[in-house]
Symmetry: C2
Subunit: 206 residues, 2 copies
């Protein structure tokens, strides 16, 4: 499943380089990885690599932009099948959690190396992240306006829902943890509970 | 507040080295940081550093073991003032979220560098993490037995509650986000909602 993320990276040598870079960054971190190691892992000479990616920074940007675009597409596809805010928020969380579980190696590399992107590269990624967050926030605001969501701490619920999805990439291990499907569905239920229940709970819980 | 974490590291030069190491690891990652850079930042010669910490690995272990022990002490102190499972779970989440917000720089370094610890060092840290998780799980199990928690997916709620606390260290920025106190109290409310409400929601949400 990790490999499907790079299916559209062409030609073949570029795709091999990207997969090699993800593996190397995942093992040693971006800063400690050399371009020589990435070329080695991809079975290319440094000159052969240079044709495809002139620098390690270009590979990190390819990885980060491809993965962010894919995560955004996954949640957009999921929500557009629904009308109601509750259904759309449920679909968003289910899709985002599944995505981060299925692609946890790449997602973990990207989360931990965001600070290594150049300002220009980060700007591009930031816009994709903003679109992703806006999609969720818009439906939560609609649900609050319709009074189907009754939380009195929507800002905190939004932080929590976004955090839960992304943090899956840190701790998820295939085979040990619940399947991406079960985790996605269960976390989506929890997101709705948080949006509906927090207002009630605030009185009792403190 | 970050500095309070190292107050008990003695002597003064050791404490300066630990604070320098946290700052350097936070900027470049553990693997790309040199011992020379850490000594420089702490205002010591490499030989002066060597007396206190023979290697970079020893500093990472001091950081990870001190911080894990402090996080465990924070949640233990918080829960022991309460009797009921709902109160104890609320206190656990409130304290753990506050701790991760207050010490987010150190906590973020540690979370992202766990894999860099030697097997022996990791074993020590793993035991502290297990004690931390067990404290939460025991009270959740008690609450389930007493039927004050009615979730039918307790394993998922536990993953979510632990994840929410730790992930604060990744995204938290002082001044931009809610105060550690407000975030802790609100997340604690959300934790109880998740444990009480998920059973109900599972029917409606899917």
């Amino acid at each position: 499943l990790e490999a499907t993320l790079w299916a559209e990276v062409e030609p073949d040598a570029s795709r091999r380089l990207i997969q090699a870079a993800v593996a190397a960054f995942s093992e040693h971190g971006y800063e400690a990885t050399t371009t020589g190691e990435i070329a080695d892992r991809a079975g290319l000479s440094p000159a052969g690599m240079y044709i495809h990616y002139p620098s390690k920074a270009d590979m990190l940007f390819e990885i980060a932009s491809t993965a962010h675009a894919a995560a955004l597409a996954a949640v957009e596809n999921a929500v557009q099948r629904h009308e109601l805010p509750t259904e759309r928020v449920h679909a968003f969380v289910e899709a985002s959690v599944r995505w981060h579980a299925e692609h946890h190696v790449a997602a973990r590399v990207i989360q931990s190396e965001l600070a290594a992107l150049s300002p220009e590269h980060f700007g591009h990624v930031r816009r994709l992240r903003d679109s992703y967050e806006r999609l969720l926030k818009r439906d939560i605001r609609r649900g609050l306006a319709d009074r189907v969501f009754t939380t009195d701490a929507a800002d905190i619920a939004i932080l929590a829902i976004l955090s839960l999805g992304i943090d899956v990439a840190r701790w998820y291990r295939a085979g040990i943890h619940p399947s991406p499907e079960r985790l996605g569905a269960a976390y989506a239920d929890l997101a709705l509970v948080m949006l509906e229940g927090a207002g009630v709970r605030a009185e009792v819980g403190t």
